[in-house]
C-alpha cells in the first residue's frame, strides 16, 4: 500500500480524513470527497441478485482514502448465481447476495447450495473471492466460514457483525423502489467496512507496525513541561486500548518521541493508569533527531521496512518531514479530537485482518527474544556453539493444505529474503500444493527461547532430474541465525529427494538484497538483475551432524518424479 502523499499533500490527507472520520458522515459529504492523490484501479467482477449501487457509490470516498479506485463491472441480477463470466480476469470477484428468497426456497439446503456456487466461482477464476451475504443468521454465516476454509482465496464477509450493530439494518420501503432492502444506515456501514477493511485485507499486505508519538498523541500534555502529570483523558485511554488490541492481533507497537529518555522511563513507571506499558513497545526511540531517523532506527529493530509502518503524530510538520524522508510510510494525524483519531485507527486500511493466526501472535514475542539471541551469539565461540545453546528445531511441511494461507502471506509480505518476488496468492499456492509436478514447502522454526511459527516457504516444480525453485522466502525475523542454507537444504531434501541439481529463480526488488546475497554466496556467482542459478544438491553436506533438529512433519501426497 504505497503512500503517494507528498509532503505538501499531508494537509490534504488530514482534511480528507477529518471529514471521513466524523462521528456521523452523510452520503452527501461522502459524495463531495475526491482524493487528490493517485489511486490504484481495482477491477471487480460482481455476482449479485439485487442492487448494491447504494453501497458502491458510498464506498468510493472510503476507497479513495485506501488509495483504491474501484472499477465495478456491470452485472445482471442472477438469483441462480450462474457465474457466467467473460472478459479479462478481474482483481477481485465479489458475490453480493441477499439470501431471503433462496432461504425460503431451499431451507436447510441453502448453505450447501451457496457453498457449491462459491466453489464453482473458485474453480473458474483465479482472482480472490469476497462473499457478502445479506440476511444470513450469525450461526449460518459462521457455518459457511468454516465450510469454505478449504477454498483458497475465499473470504466470507462478517456481515452479521456489521448489520447486528445497527439500529435499523433493513428498510421495508426500499425493496420495491430500489430492489434492495438495506437501510441507508446499513449501506453506509457496509461501504466503510468494504473499502477500509475487507478489500484492503484481501488486496494489500497488512501494516506490520504502528509507530506513535507520545506528547499530545497517546496522552494529553507535554512530558517535558508537565512531567508525569500529563493527562490520560478517557479518549486517550480508549486510544491506548485500541493500540493494545492491535498489538494482540500481531502488530508491533513502537514509540518515537522528542523527549529525554529518562523522562519517558519515569512516565511509564509512574503511570499505572496507562493501558499501554513500556514493555508493549517493540522499539522505543527517544531523542532530538528527526522523526524519520528515529522511525528508521525503530524499523531496523523490528526488522521491517518503513513502508509497512503506520505513523501517528499530532504535529502535521512532523508528518510532512516523515513523509518526505520515508516514502511509502502510512500516516495518521492525531488531532485534538482524540475520538476521531481512534475512529481513523479503527478503520485505517491495512490494519484489519481476516483472522489472527498463531503466527501473528508469535511475531511480537519472537522479536522480543532477538536481543537474547544476539547475546548468546556474541558470547558463543562459533556458529555450532551458538546453535547448541539455542537448540533450534526446524519443522518441514511438504504440500500442507492447512498452511496455504500462511505460505501465501509469506510470499506476499516478505520483502528482504524473497528471492524472485513472485508474490503468490492463495490460489497460486494452492496450485503448487495440489499439482503433482510441483511442490510447496512451509518451514517452522523454534528454539529454546520462542516458537517462531512458520517462517519460510519454498515453491518449486520438477523438471526431469532437476528441481526448479520458483520462489524461496524467509521471514526477516528468522534471519540472522545462520540457518538459511539449512532450511533450503531441508526443504529440498523433503520435497525433491533424489534430484541432483536445483535451479533457483531470482529477481531484483528494492529490498531483497539479503536473499540475493544468500544465493550469490551459495553459488559463488555474481547475480544479474534477474535470472536462474544452478546449485548442486544436497545444498549442505553434514546436516545430520549440525546441532539442529529437523522434523519432516507432513507429506500429504505422493510426489510424481
Amino acid at each position: 500500500m504505497a503512500n503517494d502523499f507528498k509532503p505538501h499533500g499531508i494537509l490534504d490527507k488530514v482534511s480528507y480524513a477529518n471529514s471521513l472520520f466524523m462521528e456521523v458522515v452523510s452520503r452527501r459529504e461522502l459524495a463531495l470527497l475526491r482524493p487528490v492523490w493517485a489511486c490504484r484501479d481495482v477491477r471487480v467482477r460482481p455476482h449479485r441478485n439485487h442492487s448494491f449501487e447504494h453501497v458502491i457509490s458510498a464506498s468510493a470516498a472510503w476507497a479513495g482514502y485506501a488509495k483504491m479506485s474501484m472499477k465495478w463491472q456491470d452485472a445482471p441480477y442472477d438469483d441462480a448465481l450462474s457465474m457466467n463470466v467473460s472478459g479479462d480476469e478481474p482483481d477481485l470477484e465479489v458475490i453480493w447476495y441477499d439470501v431471503e428468497t433462496i432461504q425460503a426456497r431451499l431451507g436447510h439446503g441453502m448453505l450447501e447450495w451457496l457453498k457449491g456456487r462459491i466453489k464453482v466461482l473458485r474453480a473458474i477464476s483465479a482472482a480472490p473471492v469476497l462473499v457478502v451475504l445479506i440476511g444470513l443468521r450469525a450461526e449460518q454465516e459462521l457455518e459457511l466460514v468454516e465450510s469454505t476454509k478449504s477454498l483458497p482465496g475465499v473470504r466470507i464477509a462478517p456481515v452479521c457483525d456489521v448489520l447486528g450493530s445497527l439500529r435499523m439494518p433493513f428498510d421495508s420501503r426500499l425493496a420495491k423502489i430500489s430492489g434492495a432492502r438495506l437501510s441507508e444506515e446499513a449501506n453506509l456501514a457496509l461501504a466503510k467496512h468494504l473499502a477500509c477493511r475487507w478489500l484492503p485485507a484481501i488486496l494489500t499486505p497488512r501494516i506490520k507496525a504502528i509507530v506513535a508519538d507520545l506528547d499530545q498523541t497517546i496522552y494529553s500534555g507535554v512530558l517535558g513541561e508537565d512531567g508525569v502529570g500529563v493527562v490520560l483523558t478517557p479518549a486517550h485511554a480508549s486510544l491506548q486500548k485500541a493500540l493494545l488490541k492491535l498489538k494482540e492481533s500481531g502488530l508491533f507497537l513502537a514509540v518515537v518521541s522528542k523527549n529525554e529518555p529518562a523522562d519517558v522511563d519515569m512516565l511509564f513507571a509512574n503511570r499505572p493508569d496507562f493501558p499501554l506499558r513500556i514493555e508493549d513497545f517493540s522499539a522505543i526511540e527517544i531523542g532530538w533527531g528527526s522523526k524519520s531517523d528515529s522511525i528508521s532506527k525503530a524499523c531496523r529493530k523490528m526488522r521491517i521496512d518503513p513502508s509497512a509502518v503506520l505513523f501517528m503524530d499530532d504535529n502535521p510538520g512532523e508528518l510532512a518531514e516523515v513523509s518526505g524522508s520515508l516514502p511509502g510510510i502510512e500516516l495518521i494525524h492525531a488531532g485534538t479530537d482524540v475520538h476521531r483519531t481512534a475512529r481513523e485507527i479503527d478503520f485505517y486500511p491495512g490494519l484489519w485482518s481476516w483472522g489472527v493466526s498463531s503466527d501473528d501472535i508469535l511475531r511480537v514475542a519472537d522479536l522480543g527474544a532477538e536481543a537474547i539471541r544476539k547475546r548468546i551469539q556474541d558470547r558463543s565461540s562459533g556458529q555450532n556453539a551458538y546453535l547448541r545453546e539455542l537448540a533450534p528445531e526446524v519443522d518441514v511441511w511438504v504440500n500442507p493444505d492447512g498452511l496455504i494461507g500462511r505460505l501465501a502471506e509469506l510470499s506476499q509480505k516478505t520483502n528482504q529474503f524473497n528471492l524472485s518476488l513472485r508474490r503468490l496468492d492463495e490460489v497460486e499456492v494452492h496450485e503448487y500444493v495440489k499439482d503433482t509436478k510441483r511442490f510447496a514447502v512451509g518451514i517452522g522454526l523454534k528454539d529454546c527461547l520462542t516458537d517462531s511459527g512458520i517462517i519460510a516457504a519454498m515453491f518449486g516444480r520438477f523438471d526431469e532430474d532437476k528441481v526448479i525453485v520458483d520462489e524461496w522466502v524467509i521471514s526477516c525475523r528468522a534471519l540472522g541465525r545462520g540457518l538459511e542454507s539449512l532450511m533450503a537444504s531441508s526443504a529440498l531434501d523433503a520435497a525433491a529427494s533424489g534430484r541432483s541439481v536445483a535451479l533457483f529463480n531470482y529477481g531484483l526488488g528494492p529490498r531483497n538484497k539479503p536473499a540475493r546475497e544468500w544465493l550469490a554466496r551459495s553459488s559463488g556467482v555474481a547475480l544479474e538483475a534477474e535470472g536462474c542459478l544452478q546449485l548442486k544438491l544436497p545444498l549442505l553436506s553434514g546436516v545430520a551432524d549440525m546441532p539442529v533438529r529437523i522434523n519432516i512433519r507432513s507429506n500429504e501426497r505422493q510426489q510424481h518424479f
Binding site: 452523510s26 452520503r27 452527501r28 459524495a31 463531495l32 442492487s51 449501487e53 447504494h54 457509490s57 421495508s172 420501503r173 426500499l174 420495491k176 423502489i177 430500489s178 441507508e184 449501506n187
Partner: protein
Amino acid sequence: MKDSSIFESEVARLASDILGEPIGVDGSRDTVPAWDSLKHVEIIFSFEEAYGLRLTESEMASMRSVKDLADRAMKG
C-alpha cells in the same frame, strides 16, 4: 420562515452533490438523465437526512423533481 425558493435552491444543491453534476431548481427525473431510479433513492436518503424527515413508500416513488422535494421539505 424560509420561502419556497430557498428550499428549492437547497434541494437543487443537494441533488447536484449526489448526482455529481449541476442541477437547476427546475431539475427533475424527466429532464436529468443521471437522475435514474437508483440515484433517486440516494437523493431521497440525503433529503431525509438533511431535513430530518422520513418519507412514505408512496412519497418516495411520487417525488420526481427538485420542486416536489422542496414542497415536501417546506411542509415538514
